[in-house]
């Protein structure tokens, strides 16, 4: 396909993405610059090009020139310039490399613009136009062909599961028909943080719930969401939907991963075009529910002075706000909140696909300074979070700034405080 055809396809995709909310948002921007003050890519670099609303210029052009009479007249009389393929190439680094879809900008805009909603939709146009980062294209291709973005296939998972089973002395059920819960995992967890799976097994055992992993759909991460391709996103979600239906599970659990929750909980049914026949919950929602039902018996408190990094997609954009707070307070009595905790917390810098784009490493480490400053202020010995990608990004950032601080997952921490069977 020639560049021109690609561009035309992209232009059409931009047009299709524009809905009433986007038109309202773009009509309302008054160029106040507050979104820049909320974006860590701007605050840590002072480069105005990272201003969130500026990242949306391609979308704004299409909206103005296609969906407003005034805009069409301006374009016709050459008062405004039409979008070009060159511009899209230029904007790639603004829409992908320097936006983690964290959504802080959307929270501060005085006229109420949801900028990250618009970035997500702009990416659909970028993909169709052929202007997505190689790192994400690779991840998407691997996800479609092998099941996951890192190419983790069933044999690798099974090998990891064998190790886990011998570690904890519990069976990890695979393809169990009629289980109450079907558990999804992120490749990051399978490879780097298998402690999560161990924790899950222990918790499920204590709560006396039946659960399973599907051999046909165990991957939670959705590269389609990150790159901005609804087609790919739909393909990946449909595997989960089919597996859940096949195994006749009641609930699908999304693991400690940010965008995976967004993908399956909020975008999933819309990608499939209909409501799911099963429920979707984040693991933290499940844990909190178990606790409220008296199924989770915990004891003891963490000794370390610790704080919580709120994963953007889970807390700010996902609505799972109270649960991490409740769970953490039950196992840690030396828990201090960072300034700007909860909904207003700052991004780890690696979400939204940024972490998968190799060229962003320098920028990512630079903007990690925001998180470093937050941590320096609370002087903690340990950092807790609930997203495997955040975890990796935090570890990388801490290392780059030579900060000694273990990062631990919340589910893992809760599992460490499960009352042992002897004391029950």
């Amino acid at each position: 396909m020639s560049t021109n055809d690609h561009f035309e396809r992209g232009y059409q995709a931009f047009k299709e993405q524009i809905d009433a909310p986007i038109a309202a948002y773009l009509s309302s921007c008054v160029h106040c610059g507050m979104c820049a003050d909320a974006c860590l890519f701007f605050t840590e670099t002072n480069d105005p090009k990272y201003t969130p609303i500026y990242k949306l210029e391609p979308l704004r052009k299409v909206w103005e020139q296609e969906y407003t009479l005034w805009g069409r007249l301006k374009a016709f009389f050459r008062i405004s310039k039409k979008l070009t393929d060159h511009e899209l190439a230029e904007w790639q680094e603004l829409i992908y490399d320097s936006c983690s879809l964290c959504g802080r900008c959307s929270l501060v805009c005085p006229v109420g613009n949801d900028l990250v909603y618009m970035i997500r939709k702009t990416r659909e146009g970028m993909v169709a136009a052929g202007h997505a980062p190689i790192g994400l294209i690779g991840a998407s291709k691997r996800a479609v062909t092998t099941g996951g973005p890192m190419g983790v296939r069933l044999p690798a998972l099974k090998a990891q599961i064998k190790r886990i089973e011998s570690n904890i002395g519990l069976k990890i059920p695979i393809d169990q028909l009629g289980a109450q819960y079907m558990v999804l995992l992120s490749s990051m967890e399978i490879i780097n943080f298998p402690e999560y799976i161990e924790a899950l097994a222990k918790i499920m055992q204590q709560a006396d719930k039946t659960w399973t992993i599907s051999s046909e759909a165990f991957e939670a991460t959705n590269s389609g969401i990150q790159i901005g391709s609804s087609d790919i996103a739909r393909q990946l979600v449909s595997r989960i939907v089919n597996a859940a239906k096949k195994l006749q599970v009641k609930t699908v659990i999304s693991p400690e991963c940010g965008h995976a929750y967004t993908a399956i909980r909020w975008e999933g049914p819309n990608l499939m075009g209909s409501r799911f026949s099963f429920e979707v919950q984040h693991i933290l929602e499940v844990l909190e529910e178990f606790y409220q039902q008296g199924l989770l018996k915990i004891e003891g408190f963490e000794q370390a002075r610790l704080t919580f990094h709120d994963p953007c997609q889970l807390v700010r954009r996902g609505g799972v706000i109270q649960q991490p707070d409740n769970l953490l307070k039950r196992v840690a009595n030396n828990f201090v909140e960072m300034e700007d905790s909860g909904q207003m917390n700052w991004c780890c810098g690696g979400g939204g696909g940024v972490g998968a784009i190799e060229e962003t490493e320098e920028l990512r480490i630079k903007v990690f300074k925001r998180k470093k400053d937050q941590l320096d202020a609370v002087k903690v010995d340990q950092l807790v979070t609930a997203c495997a990608n955040c975890r990796i990004m935090l570890e990388e950032g801490l290392e780059a700034y030579q900060m000694e601080m273990p990062v631990i997952g919340l589910t893992e921490m809760v599992a460490e405080h499960l009352q042992s069977t002897e004391s029950l």
Partner: protein, 219 residues
């Protein structure tokens, strides 16, 4: 054409043209937005869309601590301008008399001295904002011709109104005529510029609030 003839035209045909373009423009722009509609959402709601919309409609009038610290200038000066502008527009007696002729009812106004002070504060706030827009790296980078055009179109009614009321500079008919003309220009360009935010901010806050409410989040 002398000042009186000019003033007559401005108050007559000029006013009709301006309000017609304003009325047509606003309707057109609002329709252009809502007719695009929203796709249905099949994901199970955690909260209420209506409650979310109502929450966001008002929440954006206030600013949380860190955001305020980082954007203090634009917030404070922006509020001084907006509050000043609307106070003068709605509570200056000459304006109330004008509205009374249209609506059939009026309301009490503020003493002239107070209106004067508020007008000056608003003008100074606007000048401060202009300087900020020219000097602040982000705003200088973002700003287009439209931002400066809109600033001018908003500044002139405040300035000319003050001058007309105080019979300054030009003859009263001319100064008054210029004031009305500046308002008519503002009305004409409003629907076709970012000034539309004065209406569409309601939609923007509503839509974002709706999506957030669906997820059970207060934004």
């Amino acid at each position: 054409m002398n000042s009186i003839e000019l003033l007559s035209w401005i108050r007559g045909p000029g006013f009709i043209i301006a309000t017609a373009i304003f009325g047509f423009g606003i309707s057109l722009r609002l329709l252009e937005i809502v007719l695009l509609s929203r796709k249905p959402d099949y994901s199970p709601p955690r909260g209420s869309r209506l409650k979310g919309s109502l929450h966001t409609l008002f929440s954006r009038f206030t600013v949380e601590k860190t955001t305020f610290r980082r954007s203090a200038f634009i917030i404070v000066t922006g509020y001084l301008f907006h509050l000043g502008f609307f106070t003068v527009l709605l509570l200056a007696v000459p304006h109330i008399i004008f509205f009374q002729e249209i609506l059939g009812f009026g309301w009490p106004g503020l003493p002239t001295t107070l209106i004067d002070v508020i007008t000056i504060i608003s003008l100074l706030a606007m000048i401060a904002l202009l300087v900020y827009r020219l000097k602040n790296p982000v705003l200088r980078f973002l700003s287009t011709f439209e931002d400066y055009l809109v600033w001018t179109a908003t500044f002139l009614p405040l300035l000319t109104g003050y001058m007309a009321y105080h019979h300054s500079f030009f003859s009263y008919p001319l100064m008054f005529g210029l004031h009305l003309l500046s308002v008519e220009i503002l009305l004409i360009i409003l629907p076709f510029t970012k000034l539309m935010h004065s209406f569409t901010f309601i939609l923007a806050r509503w839509y974002q609030g709706s999506n957030a409410g669906h997820k059970g989040i207060n934004v």
